[in-house]
Amino acid sequence: MKIKSKFHPDKNGYFGQFGGAFIPELLHPNVKELADNYIQIIESEEFQEEYKALLKDYVGRPTPLYLAKSLSEKYGAFIYLKREDLCHTGAHKVNNTIGQILIAKKLGKTKILAETGAGQHGVATATVCALMGLDCTVFMGEKDIVRQAPNVARMKMLGATIVPATSGSKTLKDATNEAIRYWIQNPETFYLIGSVVGPAPHPDMVARLQAIISEEMKWQLKEKTGKENPDTIIACVGGGSNAAGAFYHYLDDEDVELIAVEAAGLGVNSGESAATSQLGEVGIIHGSKTILMQDEYGQIVEPYSISAGLDYPGVGPLHAYLYESKRAKFMNATDKEALTAAYELTKIEGIIPALETAHALAVLPKMDLKKDQVVVINLSGRGDKDLETFIKHLDH
């Protein structure tokens, strides 16, 4: 019998002291319905068959595990890239939206609601809604609508209604607030959340749906290296869904080093940063107790990162627990370091990564890598959506 992992949530949705469902009573029936059913649905044969078939034939899984030779040579280690950027729609986000849309259908929901930062989750949600013929509303910060224009166009083409979030910092935090408010007013909708954040059971549900990443890594590594376990896994963290997926099946294997990379913006202590673990304290955001950036009175601080997908003042409760328990090591990369890493990967490997993903790549120069160390970097998304930013910084 498999021993229950300490990294699975308890019955109230807690990972250690983090998690829970801090929601207005108005949302209790929605969250309860999902909490009562999600594990049973996900573990059912019917779901698994449909989910796996769509991941294979529609998303294009398994995604390759690629030994990046030039990168490996440069940093003196065996560096593998888990190519989530090759997923349909351009990022790991679709693993989750395929899973959740099937859950929504099982629960008889016809209207889908989502928030988006960089627009990757919005596109992935609009895509599965088009696929299933369901109504799709996406909240996106007004500021992000401007800086991620290609994804906005894609969502519109896919038939989604995009609602600009005009409150607060007009980014992911506010898009999530607005999505939750819309959910309160339209309780018949299914909130297809994009990361391992929000009230329980959303963080656990999303982690389970992204776990396919590390599930594949295990057999792919076994094929390539003879061992299922790498020495190190690196992933970027905003809310933390790609990291949760890349870490999931290794959480209990303490010999695998897990590195979560946050966005430092202009520098951790510059006042313009999104390095939540370094700047945050325990608090409640979007229905979950976690680590978040706040002032001395508990007002949520507006974060900053060049990357719209990492520009979030909190972190999923699982990651807060991984940080507190020291199971994962938290590092960070500035805007500049991320841009440099993105240019480097493009130049020596011919892969243009998303700005979010570039943060994970950016810690390589800061690490003390050993010659035979096997490192997997979760290449969570491709950089097409960030071309404008890349072009702007091309000469710098």
């Binding site: 207005p24 607030n177 309160i184 955001i285 229905g287």
Partner: protein, 255 residues
Amino acid sequence: MNSIQQLFQKKERNLLSIYFTCGYPALEDTTEVIASLEKSGVDFIEVGLPYSDPLADGPTIQDSSQKALENGINLDIVFEQLMTVKNTNKTPLVLMGYLNQMLKYGEDKFCQKVVACGIDTLILPDLPMVEFENHYKALFDKYGLTNVFLITPNTEEERIRKIDSYTNAFIYVVASSSITGAKGEISNQQIAYFERIKNMNLQSKLIVGFGISDKQTFTTACEYANGAIIGSAFIKNLGQNGIAKIDDFIKPIIA
């Protein structure tokens, strides 16, 4: 007996409560707003603690909260302002805020300050029942505080019965599945819901909120409940017409 129970002993019907945001429209307005509301004959006052991310509030209260925060309001200033009205104000105050504000301030310190201000009733819309049962009930009991829970058209009877047993103030009957904000009128569906709650013969008093905006909606709500709370419509009026016109807003409602 807490301040709200004492109020209910004196008056059981047509109770009018007004919600306002501390530090709005100007930082120093808190005390004057309370004094004006008392003078106008409001039965109890919901004191809103401005929060950066108020999930249960609509645009009007969001805007007033943001303005108040820009004005420089914080919990220490709020408590100072409430201390200054403690001896003059006789209208019961209920404090409404979000859980993270209490968490960050320090749960015990927060409760001590609330009690020091002569307040015994809290509304924390994002405090779920399970967290109350596991932790906050004991904390609030220790300080003689009571928590007000919200119910909605979707709340199951069993949960309503539990909520009824947990509060020593009232049950906040959310008029519809909604965030705060004036809606204009009350539908037949809402009336059916009010009647269902009324017929449950709960021991707690019922106060209707969310979507109550004027004399008409107030009167309808009071047919099925002990009273009602007006928030967004009041804030809108306060923002447009200022403190001097508070009486003009309240008088027609209670007339």
